[in-house]
């Protein structure tokens, strides 16, 4: 048995992991919108986000998965928790959790869901969207290719958008500081 005989990139147990992660995400999502306590909601959302990062890995998008973990779970959610701790939540926990239009809201969401179902069932190509389901890519160059789309002089379609995004972040920083500061 030589090293070359070792299996390379064997198929992962894709359906099993997909359903597992999907279940985690759905349950997490439901918990997010039903918990009284905002910290519990945040924890559920973190679980959802991490499961989604794992799904990204299954979709051969490792870089997006890494960004998801580092930015969403490590950055944005910490910000959320930080704010939840700054504001006292004891009072809101005892109050009514849903607003008066909850019925309308759910009805609207149901209509939207119906629309989705209608679209998905009528589309003929629906079930065959992954024609090369078994195809695997070398993950090795995913990051490089994304970088190429973002930065490269020749293939960089999104260079301008990238700069705009940095501007957006700058504006957001200033806005957040202006909003949150007690007295400027």
């Amino acid at each position: 048995m030589n090293p070359a005989a070792l299996p390379t990139n064997p198929p992962v147990a894709t359906p099993f992991f997909f359903y597992l992660l999907a279940a985690v995400m759905i349950i997490g999502g439901i918990l997010v919108i039903t918990r009284k306590n905002a910290v519990h909601s945040a924890m559920a959302l973190i679980t959802t986000l991490l499961a989604q990062a794992a799904l990204y890995l299954m979709l051969y998008a490792p870089f997006v998965a890494g960004v998801q973990i580092i930015l969403y779970a490590g950055g944005i959610m910490v910000l959320f928790l930080f704010v939840i701790m700054l504001i006292s939540i004891e009072r809101t926990e005892k109050e009514r959790q849903f607003n008066k239009q909850w019925l309308v809201g759910i009805a609207a969401a149901a209509a939207l869901g119906g629309l989705f179902i209608a679209v998905y069932t009528t589309t003929t190509s629906g079930r065959t969207l992954f024609p090369e389901g078994k195809l695997t890519f070398a993950e090795g160059d995913n990051t490089q290719r994304i970088a190429g789309l973002l930065f490269d002089r020749a293939t960089g379609t999104y260079m301008f958008a990238f700069e705009i995004a940095s501007l957006l972040l700058l504006v957001a920083i200033i806005g957040a500081v202006v909003m949150a500061k007690k007295r400027i």
């Binding site: 894709t14 997909f18 999907a22 995400m25 759905i26 999502g29 439901i30 997010v32 919108i33 905002a38 909601s41 945040a42 959302l45 799904l55 979709l59 997006v64 960004v67 998801q68 930015l71 969403y72 950055g75 944005i76 910000l79 959320f80 704010v83 939840i84 504001i87 009072r91 809101t92 109050e95 959790q97 849903f98 607003n99 909850w102 809201g105 759910i106 609207a108 969401a109 939207l112 998905y120 969207l129 992954f130 389901g133 195809l135 890519f137 995913n142 290719r145 190429g148 973002l150 999104y158 995004a165 957006l168 972040l169 504006v171 957001a172 806005g175 957040a176 202006v178 909003m179 949150a180």
Partner: protein
């Protein structure tokens, strides 16, 4: 079990999207509303990355536009969360509450 197709991801994305919409429309707590918005953005991201996977299957490994979009949306989400939570803190400081229902004046 069936092989997982793009549709599976789309359905999952749609479900998360709907959950987010329900959260935004029905909850009173601003923090949870913001979290629901994050949920919606993530549902979109999931779709985009799934499309990117599909596109890669057709056009080869360089067709990563969906993933680039997803990265932009994550950037957006960070900006949105920062500003939203900043507004939330300012609001809480003045009103001592985090209920959207009570944001019914143009001034405070």
């Amino acid at each position: 079990m069936l092989d997982i197709s793009t549709l599976h991801y789309l359905v999952l994305g749609a479900a998360l999207f709907l959950l987010g919409v329900i959260g935004v429309l029905t909850r009173r707590n601003v923090v949870i509303v913001l979290m629901s918005i994050e949920l919606i953005l993530n549902a979109v991201n999931l779709n985009l990355v799934a499309f990117s996977r599909y596109w890669q299957g057709i056009h080869g490994p360089s067709a990563l536009h969906g993933q680039v979009f997803a990265i932009f949306i994550i950037t957006d989400a960070a900006a949105e969360a920062a500003v939203g939570l900043g507004i939330l803190i300012a609001f809480f400081r003045n009103k001592e509450t985090v209920n959207v229902d009570e944001v019914n004046l143009l001034k405070w």
